[in-house]
Amino acid sequence: MEEHLVDWSRAQFALTALYHFLFVPLTLGLGFIVAIMETIYVKTGSLEWKKITKFWMTLFAINFAIGVATGIIMEFEFGTNWANYSWFVGDIFGAPLAIEGILAFFMESAFFAVMFFGWNKVGKKFHLLSTWLVAVGSNLSAMWILVANGWMQFPIGVEFNPDTVRNEMVDFWAIFFSPVAVSKFLHTIGSGYVISALFVVGISAWYLLKERDTIFAKRSMVVGATFGLVASLFLFLSGDESAHQVAQKQPVKLAAMEGLYEGKEGAGIVAVGILNEEKTLENDEEVYHFEFEIPYALSLLGYHDPFAFVPGLKDLVYGNEERGIESAISKMEKGKIAVQALRDYKEAKRNADEVGMAEAKAKLDANMQYFGYGHLEKPEDIVPPISLTFYSFHIMVTLGGWFLTLFGIVLFFFIFNKDIVKQKLILLSAVLSIPLGYIAAEAGWIVAEVGRQPWAIQDLMPVGVAVTDISTTNVMISFFMFAVLFTILLIAEVKIMTKQIAMGPEEAH
């Protein structure tokens, strides 16, 4: 394999996925917000609410189009750039994607046309139903793709078949109801709802700052902030469950999220801290330049017990007999046995040696769960990039806390009938919080995906094995093509969106 091929392939996947996820959240959340608004319109018959619905629907459509554009590549990129991966786990991973197409995407696309062009063509109720179905369809599609993603983080419900050299599905429901998939789904849609609420509240705040369209803005703001507050609470609960799952299934990721080198009982979470970049597994440097720690929080988060032992990176790489933690070195030995057993199996099969096949198969089965470790060069390879994971995690959590506060403050003014129009500082913070929502969501994905390096599939397949056999130049070229095209489209999207916002609910179309 060529040098840097994996890096460029990862860079391309990261680029396209991060771009795609700039547009997913609004589709997930604004769809429901618009559906709620239209429901109020249908219930009350008020034309003001129809105007509100139509305005946010216009913004929804602008975002939706580029979401679709950046999304199609995701469906094919597993094949184009991760061909070996696609074979090795296609038997599991493909199914949710196909079901996503059948059950979710068509719901979105069939009713999208009704939602936008059907105002005067279909009855009010059928139109409202269409709007709800677009929202439901997009959330269903998120569910299926996150089932697939959850399986990569925690591969269950499969058996390895040495004849086909791939993992084969044996229990669909185990994959579907995997606790990792469930918490991942809830946390991701939660982030979409919060971002959508920030979007509605922020834009409404901008109108109020400009002292225009005040009735429209205030009504939108109430819907947005209420939706946002509920979603934020939901986001915290699902985030807590996600962290709990990471602690059980991907302890190395949890340790990287906190820069925890030495395992300990009653581990804390660093609320604010700067990592010492000199620190490695082998040296005795300080981990942080400075830190402010919330004691017991990590144990509580990961294990729901303030005194629980949280293994550190050193425990996980070099092992900790006292705690019963197996070292990566030992797992690598078993992994190499599994890799060799597969070769032996193939050899025996070629020679029609059934006894040899059975022996090799037994050896393979016994060590299969460490198969991926057999491809690693050194035990330290199991550690993901620590600073990227650490800072992303902390940015995400801190911003999540801020959003909850913001929604609370905004609602406070409405509930107690105080005029929010005079609160310039709050309105300005609401406007400035729109981009923060996106930063938080992207940071969350970085924690999830960078934090599980080097694995394409946890413990079974490192990224280096998963990648397509192709020369690096090809991937470099396509990387830049995607970068240029998506950036141009993003600029167009933002310009169109801001123009529509500036035109306002009276003129936007």
């Binding site: 554009a69 074979w87 493909g94 199914a95 994607l97 197409g101 059948i102 696309s109 078949n161 035109m503």
Partner: protein, 377 residues
Amino acid sequence: MGFGDLELLTLQQYWWIIFSLLGGLFVFMMFVQGGQTMIDFLSHNETEKTMIINSIGRKWELGFTTLVLFGGTLFSAFPLFYSASFGGAYWLWLAILFSFIIQAVSYEYRSKPNNFLGKRTYEIFLRINGDVGSFLLGVAIATFFSGSEFIVDENNFSHWQNDLRGLEALLNPYNWLLGLALIFLTKISGALYLINNIDYEPIRQKAILSIKGHMPMFLITYLGFMIWIFTKDGFGVDENGVVFIEQYKYFNNFIDMPIVSALFIIGVGMVIVAVFKTIHYEKTCCIKTAGVGIVMTVAALIVSVGFNNTVYYPSTTDMQSSLTIMNSSGSHYTLTVMSYASIMIPFVLGYIGYAWYSMDREKLTKEEIEAPDAHNY
């Protein structure tokens, strides 16, 4: 008795039929692509252009979604094709995908103020998607007959053997025939759709004119393609999975499978009848007839390379690396799970049909486009 009791081969065949049907539906939905290439030709002024764009613009997502499902179906039902072909013919597939990426934004962004690239650019995007996208898809499907250069190793990892990574398919002139045929076919179906969907005489007349020009071109290229595959050697596979060259394999398939050839011939006939009725009697009905015909013909063509011990994705570098529905499929369990999900397909088609019908009960008119509260692309 459920899907789980079926033989693996039966499930593989079931999924190949679904895949073929999706292929047929997708090519039918490409009337959107065909329409995109004729926006300028069919319109005299900005209003007419807007009418055309809005007419096809309300359908583009269905075709797009079918393409996505096409990918998903291959990934789950025939993962070895997904990894060998998408990873191997990298640039061919990426070029197709790029043409669809630019399609997805163009309808929504074209007429919006402050759209950065200008109206014309988005119209060019639609045109590229229509011409280049259709052509390359035709070329990609033609490689099912002409073959590609790849090796599948004993771990079932695939290795493409040509540095052009898929673009080499363009060097084979026979592949061009299907690419060109697909361009002309989509232009014909695009015109038929617009004739049916827009109640406005000047556009209808121009559309009829366009069909008169494109139909002969379609027949020539498509016939050329069929003659080529019927007279060439094909790739067969014996009961031990050994691939061998068989003379007139693709022709024999049509002889051996009369149902497939019947579907194929009736399908082509329906397209011809639809065109005839449109040109001679100025009927507006005929996208339906042509649509069913396209689905049947394309599905029959794809079915023919999956059944009757045929290789559907031949490797010319290492014949034994070639893909058949037997050696490239998902496991019995996965195909079973997927088959249960497929029960939903008629239901999905049902609600798509209902939504489509509710929207198109009344044809698109000039008045609708010019209405003050119109939401136009």
